[in-house]
Symmetry: C3
Amino acid sequence: MSELKLSPDRFFDPNPSVRKIAREIYNSVKSLPIISPHGHVDPSLFSENKPFPNPTQLFLIPDHYIYRMLYSQGLATLEELGIPDINGNVYESNPKKIWDIFASNYYLFNGTPSGVWLDYEFSQVFGIKEKLNAKNGMKIYEQLQKKINGKNFLPRTLFDKFNIQALSTTDAAFDDLRHHKKIKESGWKGKIIPCFRPDSVTDLSNSKWNESIKLLGKSVGYEISSYKKFISALEERRTFFKSMGATSTDHGVFSAYTHELTVKEAEAIYNKAFKGKTTPEDARLFTAHMLMEMARMSIDDGLTMQIHPGSFRNHNEVIFNKFGLDKGCDIPMQTEFTFNLKELLNKFGNNKNLTVIIFTLDETAYSRELAPLAGHYPAMKLGPAWWFHDSLEGMMRYRQMTTETAGFYNTVGFNDDTRAFVSIPARHDVARRVDSNFLAGLVAKHVINKSEALQIAKDLTYNLVKKAYKL
Amino acid sequence: MSELKLSPDRFFDPNPSVRKIAREIYNSVKSLPIISPHGHVDPSLFSENKPFPNPTQLFLIPDHYIYRMLYSQGLATLEELGIPDINGNVYESNPKKIWDIFASNYYLFNGTPSGVWLDYEFSQVFGIKEKLNAKNGMKIYEQLQKKINGKNFLPRTLFDKFNIQALSTTDAAFDDLRHHKKIKESGWKGKIIPCFRPDSVTDLSNSKWNESIKLLGKSVGYEISSYKKFISALEERRTFFKSMGATSTDHGVFSAYTHELTVKEAEAIYNKAFKGKTTPEDARLFTAHMLMEMARMSIDDGLTMQIHPGSFRNHNEVIFNKFGLDKGCDIPMQTEFTFNLKELLNKFGNNKNLTVIIFTLDETAYSRELAPLAGHYPAMKLGPAWWFHDSLEGMMRYRQMTTETAGFYNTVGFNDDTRAFVSIPARHDVARRVDSNFLAGLVAKHVINKSEALQIAKDLTYNLVKKAYKL
Amino acid sequence: MSELKLSPDRFFDPNPSVRKIAREIYNSVKSLPIISPHGHVDPSLFSENKPFPNPTQLFLIPDHYIYRMLYSQGLATLEELGIPDINGNVYESNPKKIWDIFASNYYLFNGTPSGVWLDYEFSQVFGIKEKLNAKNGMKIYEQLQKKINGKNFLPRTLFDKFNIQALSTTDAAFDDLRHHKKIKESGWKGKIIPCFRPDSVTDLSNSKWNESIKLLGKSVGYEISSYKKFISALEERRTFFKSMGATSTDHGVFSAYTHELTVKEAEAIYNKAFKGKTTPEDARLFTAHMLMEMARMSIDDGLTMQIHPGSFRNHNEVIFNKFGLDKGCDIPMQTEFTFNLKELLNKFGNNKNLTVIIFTLDETAYSRELAPLAGHYPAMKLGPAWWFHDSLEGMMRYRQMTTETAGFYNTVGFNDDTRAFVSIPARHDVARRVDSNFLAGLVAKHVINKSEALQIAKDLTYNLVKKAYKL
């Protein structure tokens, strides 16, 4: 048996002098409330507050970080892993069988952030005492099942226990936010806020664009038959989102290209699309134009704008055609920012009232493009190490490659960006440890002193995220 | 005099706690047999088993890592370094004169992998006690000459002494593998296997393509006058290579672009080429298509497929025109994988029976493209840090940038990829040390525990390479 | 109050064994003379040798590293920071008001090279004992003012105190070098030499090209009415610069593209430009051609050639239109070298009499393109970590990513590249510390031994720069 016991010094530099400082810095921030300004947790968890059905449904099914690893090793198909297909069919309905594959191959996660997060969740959230493996898999499954059947592991109870001060979901432009309403009406104090993500209606290359436009029309009560109505509808929806607590918008785009069209050009493209006649070039230009429009609206309504380009979505068409979106088949690509953001930053980047947070999956842009841009334009801030780079090494590279040019104060703190609710405290704990350790290194090398480091740690953990997202 | 004595702790982190763990991990793998699944050692070394003629011929002439450094400093021309030109002419035939240039400038290799490997070879293989320099150059030359004149330094003896379990050469599609045959027939037990590398016949832009096609025709006994015959010939040759022990194919390509042509399109391009009328676009498409064909054949015959794009070969035309290929003038370039591999991975990447190993000289692709792809597609694995990146820092960056997304188990162990036979144990020793040290860092930071690290070390050194190359 | 006291061990690895070696290596080089072969200090400082007017004029106004950070945080506009506009208007003329913004936000520079340099300047050059902050800002202002009013802080006195052996300015092709002359004639022994930077006349896309050509004409005494006269004028000016002590030329280009035009082609493009009819493609080709011409001239006259591509100048047009060049709005971009330098390196790169130093703002090129190129072509050398990468982490990445392929001896030592004269000793001190620390790491890991490290440190600090710039 391999004991599962987390070291209080985990992820800190093995050098005793750095470690001692890292410990002190970490201890000063570890109990600060969690702010989760960007993520994909399903709000129905909190409106319904039902027990999680079983460990497989809790840990594996919503987390493509996990099943992609099992899939990559040829250990099981997505069918065998119980992932529902695009029509909701489930080909393997025995959660224990799936858990067994996971448990037997848990060693694959050694050295990965998933391994680190899962160890935390098992140990710190569920009190499991052994590291998961082929032998103890079923025993641990039963232990977990027993816990989640009880009251102490209901979503709202965990939310409070995790000390989450605010959690943002991500929601389509036409979403009625019924779960957010229900949560508000329930009297529960947990702050679950929406985030306005209009990609499905701003991306003309989306195969369901016409469908989405109809849904947008329903949400505002009129047909979106012209570009002007489209813009009005978006403005109305932003107002609605804001009234429901939203403080930000989110834009997942193929490239970071920004470009303003004339109203006439935009109308012509919109009208073509409305008749189902979009070209790829139309879609490219319209997305670039809509980023400009969204920045303009953000200056009006104060919503913080987030842009994250550079993911080739649904790279594996075999999986996409059967299982749909978000199945671990999104692959990063080379991403250009200096040219692409120029038009947006030239028009809006000098405006102190705007906050545009830029994310990247292409780490080469950190020191080359993003830190220099964020280190100059008042409106632009750097999002944290994102997705594949939300990891021990990834976050370290992020600080090493951005701090010297952008400083700490043109960044915005940590985002967990997760669909896996119980991983939230694990992820924030890792981020706090990595930042504490990075700062400890600077102190030990006499780049900054300890009192400076303690202040920066607090800012990175809590103050910067509050400020950037106006929370 | 500067003593040449290798520290048992070399290349380990100076932190005592990390170093102690690294030492323990390294000690557990240092004596495992060497598997060298990809390299360029001349098989005639072992079929003929003659003594190496002199130290210059042994260390310098076959190793462009070494003479490129001397050339870059303007210390000598390739003529003065005794490199044979394209017609076999040698302009400097005094090996001692060449050795003197090398010895007098040995300090140039400080901080480079060549320096580290040479120190190992001199010290561990040849028992040299002093670091090479201008003063002791001739003395050491004589010491080396004496050794290689003796029986203990014949190629086969060294092969056994190096504890090499299998060594793969790299061979043209039309090669008759006479040396491999001769080795088999000799009764010597050393496992020297071929690898099928058809670049000279699949790359239509190769100036000697027509010549190569004729050689391919000779090797199968019929003229390769059509695309269909071309495909058949390749299939036959793969079968022959497999019968001679090959377990893999190797594809050195300009870009990683993959794309399937229709048979009609492929035939049209082939026919044009056969008449000597290839365009660059033809060549680009045909190479992309042949990668698809090679993957299809690999699913049929089980040969592991290796793709290594991204080298601008023969960048220095002055050198190329006089001295030909592989003279240290190949320069890496930006390399794209996400788009380029899509067609191959969509068609074949979900197939568990295929293994495609991808190499890169563009390290930016590690975390951005390659680890995400290998972390998803069952058929794809990541080749090790390659060529210029087969080095202390290069291998460390490789683990730091790939492990968190792809894990350890979507990688395939170490390749030495060398032309310099006696450098093999030196190179494997460095790889084992770097991996041991990387794992020790994870243990010291409590990311994994020591028993996990010991298992991973064994897998990285021995098990993964055996599995990936079916050895 | 926070004490400002620099640790003698600053920037060294916290590991005691590495730190001890780093200290020894650093102590062996810390007092070597400073050679500053590339920078932007105004030569009038030394010809006039007047006291600096006030701390704001000394530290803030000439240093866009500093005011860009304040601007990026939306703390003040450039107007409010006293930056003169394009017509010389100054909107805030109270230096104390500006200093107060700077002092109150000094914490923004924590973790940045500016922070590290400023601490050095305040402490080591001006004897300030407290770290700058909102409270002590005015007190420190007065302390600084008092010092710079005195004789000990005149430019020439500081130059001697800084132990600068040679300092190169950067000067337009048509500059009359009157300040350099005046310095020479003054009898003062300080070596201030010019560097020939002809960008304003070789870049046809420069909006003031025709104006610049007229100035070039004035400088040689004839109208530059043809391409041939243009070439002659440049040759004459190079001769003049050389007679004034120049040993190098400098070429800031958008891309590294090199390509030789026929004389006819070059003439046609020149004639069009002369009539004010340049196209972007003309400009691109002409710049590429002029790099070839400059290399040719360098072989003739022996001036070392510097090329630094990859900066998107004046990215923020709002700032550029009002304040002009060099206001912290230059943003790096992806930069390609393998293809772009091929023509230049094929034609001139094998020539031992040429030295071409290449700089990059795109760090991805270090290991992928630049180290392999510099590790092969005799004429090519690698410039040091540049601009945003002239920093603790940036210089460490530079050594880590270039040394293994190019070695130490295909690099050229440190450049401060600064406009801020008093930051020179601070910057060189950081570079010496980072290199000493990097070498100490190699010693502690037994990659090289200590006597080798001591020699390399001396070469990196002093010998290589002397050799590369022929000083």
